[in-house]
């Protein structure tokens, strides 16, 4: 395997009516990622190729693409992982194409916003003027931290069959985040988010296709979050729910160790 064949989706608005596939040959470098291949094409073969990238370490979520028919982060996919020297790269499905491999993710951001993805504080005074940290047990943290791994890349949305037919379905990303905030004990916005997720196009349109979790590059497992959200909503609706205990503020610690020495000021203090 000395050379790779890249088949890349091209589309320039205003010029092209439809997207088409263009083929490139890229020399294989040990350890290269799909993003490296695209950068090679851009810099050496065709300067007009457009795609997004930023962190090149799989944490910013820019480079979601449909690579060999699976949604992946281009920078997070070493070509060796694909096990083939023919690599087809297309724009993420279920999002409109802006140009070439650049998808329009506004939809994702709007939906995310609509489920109120922030702490809705029970205590406005403390929220405005925080006095101390909250206490949080390891168990509580484990209950939501996995879902906070979400980089908002939209791969799950590209994978979900309900998103594929329903433009109004919030989708795995935002529903997962709804659950993430609902289980956080610092938050008191459960009711509002349940109300939001209870709409006709809400959480119940998830039928556990599981493709979201399969595609998620960061181990978020949105499918799990959504099912847990459903459970919470069913329990709530049947009035079986345990009341969430609000998080408590840490009390000052007792002095336990002497202060570490600091050199005396050598400038006279006013």
């Amino acid at each position: 395997m000395q050379e790779l064949t890249f088949k890349v989706q091209r589309y320039l608005p205003g010029k092209d009516k439809k997207a088409y596939i263009q083929q490139f040959t890229v020399p294989l470098r040990q350890g290269m990622t799909v993003l490296d291949g695209l950068i090679y094409i851009k810099e050496n073969v065709d300067n007009t190729l457009s795609f997004r990238s930023s962190c090149r370490m799989g944490i910013c979520g820019s480079c979601g693409m449909f690579i060999n028919n699976f949604p992946m982060l281009a920078c997070h996919t070493p070509v060796e992982e694909l096990g083939t020297d023919r690599i087809e790269v297309r724009s993420l499905p279920n999002f409109p194409v802006i140009r070439d491999l650049v998808a329009d993710l506004d939809l994702l951001f709007e939906k995310h916003k609509s489920i109120k993805p922030y702490i809705i504080s029970p205590d406005t005074e403390e929220a405005e003027e925080p006095t101390a940290e909250f206490l949080q047990s390891g168990e509580e943290l484990e209950g939501y931290v996995q879902f906070a791994y979400c980089v908002k890349c939209g791969l799950c949305m590209a994978a979900c069959p309900t998103v594929a037919t329903d433009a109004l379905f919030p989708g795995p990303q935002s529903l997962g985040q709804a659950y993430r905030y609902c289980t956080d004990r610092r938050d008191a916005g459960v009711e509002e988010r349940f109300h939001q997720a209870d709409s006709r196009h809400g959480v119940w349109l998830c039928h556990l296709a599981g493709a979201c979790s399969e595609a998620c590059p960061k181990g978020v497992d949105p499918a799990l979050a959504i099912q847990l959200l459903k459970r919470a909503m069913v329990f709530d609706s049947l009035r079986l729910k345990k009341k969430k205990k609000p998080a408590s503020i840490a009390q000052p610690l007792a002095e336990s160790k002497p202060k570490i020495d600091v050199p005396e000021f050598t400038v006279k203090q006013p």
Binding site: C55, I119, E126, L253, K259
Partner: protein, 573 residues
């Protein structure tokens, strides 16, 4: 082209930690009464800050031995006594508040068994005060702020809108010219106040930990608009950039107990910083590594990226998976190495700009109605060398301060400034006709590669007069050559070809300032380490460099560092 124009009261340029923090504060202070805009060249949450890994420094445990004075002393000593000490004092007082604030906004801080925020040791800190959320601290902070921003109705977002110039008239801010990458529109956004939070410019180096989009645009635009840049010669090299990509292996890996090993199987830091070992400040560790490599105790590679080993194996699977999950993920993904089983190949990588847009202690620039925060700014907190974990804290503290100041200023302004339309047309012409229709023989990617190779070589961990002279010559040559660059892509929509040219123009301007400042500074201090002037010279150089734009190149000026607590002493670890 459709003509559009927008106007908002407060403009936040950049959506990294500093920009988002400023935007949240602006929205909070204005109580949704002002009209606030946040503009970013990437989708808001993709900013480089998501890469920050190790932690954020703050004094959270005064009961267990830490103190504000100690944090201040660590910072001042780390800065090689170039930090402004009044700024340091403000910083150490404010940063704990920011961390508690983030806790209230929902960040998943890693916790101790007693449920309180956990802290880990970090280079140059005398107490374990790098507060962390696994090894994705910046990521979680960014997304917490981004999420929090969603609740404010008074904020308009401009995702993927590239700002090409900052318009200033008579010493007062007027507006920004913006190229919306997704629609291709070019337009003006007027505003009463501006916060610049555009981050660092490490992409002028080839081997760097930074995102591809960290090209220092804001600093370059401010510089060309007449705002001076401060202390640009101080560029931090992080001791542990992963071979071959430069992806960062957090200092937390050493904070948690990782060893640096040379090809003789020695923990070589014993020789250079016996008391602190691997957790000495970054400038010292990076120099030690380069010395090892130059003296033949590194591992060599055919491409010249000689390296050393970072060994985590003795930490055990549980600690690595719990405290350093991202490190494990990236080393497996990008270097095909599982740190549970093998040591990680690393070498120093360009990592941070201590310098930036000159501001006062409140983040205000010399131009009325413009503030700057985060890595793009230089409030003189880090002096000649930044301590790990102090930067994210800085972004939060000055994000908040500048967000608030800018908003209060905008509240006091009745009307928006008028901008003559020809200023926008001129800028549009410069971008799309002068640059965008370039038809010469030069290739922007070649120019960028030459710049990066040269910077990696000549302006790196160790510097030298002649090397920097050569660098300056090269930069000036590249500045000429980029005028004759060929532009293949003629679309206005997501034209990353043209974008690369604009970025390289910015990088070249900044590189010139760095080298000019470095050449002038005939001493070694912090990250600026000269072979030909190996000692610190407090009598002549205990001062900040200011660089002003002139068409011929930077004009340098100097202001004294503010010393309010400790007089400079020898720096030893």
């Amino acid at each position: 082209m459709v003509e559009i124009e927008a106007a908002h009261d407060v403009l936040i340029l950049g959506s990294g930690l500093a920009g988002l923090r400023a935007a949240v504060e602006a929205a909070r202070v204005s109580n949704d009464e002002l009209d606030i805009a946040i503009i970013s060249r990437v989708q808001l949450m993709r900013s480089h800050s998501v890469c920050a890994e190790g932690g954020t420094a703050a004094v959270m445990r005064p009961e267990e031995g830490d103190s504000l004075e100690l944090h201040a002393w660590d910072t001042v000593r780390g800065s090689d006594f170039l930090a402004d000490q009044d700024v340091v004092k403000l910083f150490v007082e404010e940063s704990p508040k920011e961390l508690i604030q983030l806790d209230h906004w929902g960040i998943p801080w890693s916790r101790r068994p007693d449920g309180r925020m956990n802290q880990r040791p970090f280079g140059g800190h005398s107490f374990d005060r790098a507060t962390f959320a696994e090894d994705k601290t910046g990521f979680f902070e960014m997304h917490t702020l981004y999420d929090t921003l969603q609740k404010y109705a008074g904020v308009t977002r401009y995702d993927e809108c590239y700002v090409t110039s900052i318009l200033i008239d008579n010493g007062v801010f007027q507006g920004l010219t913006v190229w919306n990458l997704t629609t291709g529109q070019f337009f003006l956004i007027r505003g009463k106040a501006l916060v610049i939070a555009t981050g660092g410019a490490c992409r002028m180096f080839g081997f760097t930990t930074y995102s591809l989009t960290a090209t220092g645009d804001g600093a370059a635009m401010a510089y060309r608009a007449g705002i001076p840049l401060k202390d640009m010669e101080f560029v931090q090299f992080h001791p542990t950039g992963l071979i071959p990509s430069g992806i960062l292996i957090t200092e937390g890996a050493r904070g948690e107990g990782g060893y640096l090993i040379n090809n003789k199987d020695e923990r070589f830091m014993e020789r250079y910083a016996p008391s602190k070992m691997e957790t000495a400040p970054r400038d010292i560790v990076s120099r030690s590594e380069m010395t090892e490599i130059l003296e033949g105790r590194g591992f060599s590679r055919p491409d010249g990226l000689d390296y050393l080993h970072l060994d985590l194996r003795h930490l055990g699977a549980q600690k690595i998976n719990e405290r350093l999950p991202l490190i494990r993920e990236v080393t497996i993904k990008f270097a095909f190495i599982d740190p549970l089983e093998q040591p990680i190949p690393i070498r120093p990588a360009a990592h941070y700009f201590m310098g930036g847009i000159h501001t006062d202690i409140e983040g205000a620039t010399p131009v009325e109605a413009i503030w700057a925060a985060g890595e793009a700014a230089c409030v003189s907190l880090h002096g000649a060398n930044r301590l790990g974990a102090n930067s994210t804290a800085e972004c939060l503290v000055w994000g908040r301060i500048t967000g608030e100041k800018a908003t209060r200023y905008a509240m006091g302004q009745k009307s928006l400034p008028d901008v003559p339309p020809q200023r926008v047309q001129e800028e549009e012409k410069r971008l799309f006709e002068q640059i965008g229709h370039g038809n010469g023989s030069e290739d922007v990617y070649v120019i960028r590669a030459e710049l990066q190779r040269m910077m990696d070589h000549n302006v790196a961990v160790y510097r030298n007069g002649p090397d920097m002279e050569e660098a300056l010559k090269k930069i000036r040559e590249l500045k000429q050559r980029i005028k004759h660059v060929k532009v293949k892509d003629q679309s206005r929509i997501y034209n990353t070809n043209l974008l690369a040219i604009v970025e390289v123009i910015n990088l070249l301007d900044l590189a010139e300032v760095i080298v000019a400042g470095g050449l002038a500074r005939t001493e070694s201090r912090g990250a600026h380490s000269r072979r030909d002037f190996p000692n610190r010279d407090d009598d002549n150089w205990g001062k900040h460099t200011l660089a002003y734009y002139t068409p011929e190149g930077p004009r340098l000026d100097y202001i004294p560092a503010t010393i309010t607590m400790w007089q400079p002493v020898e720096r030893k670890y």
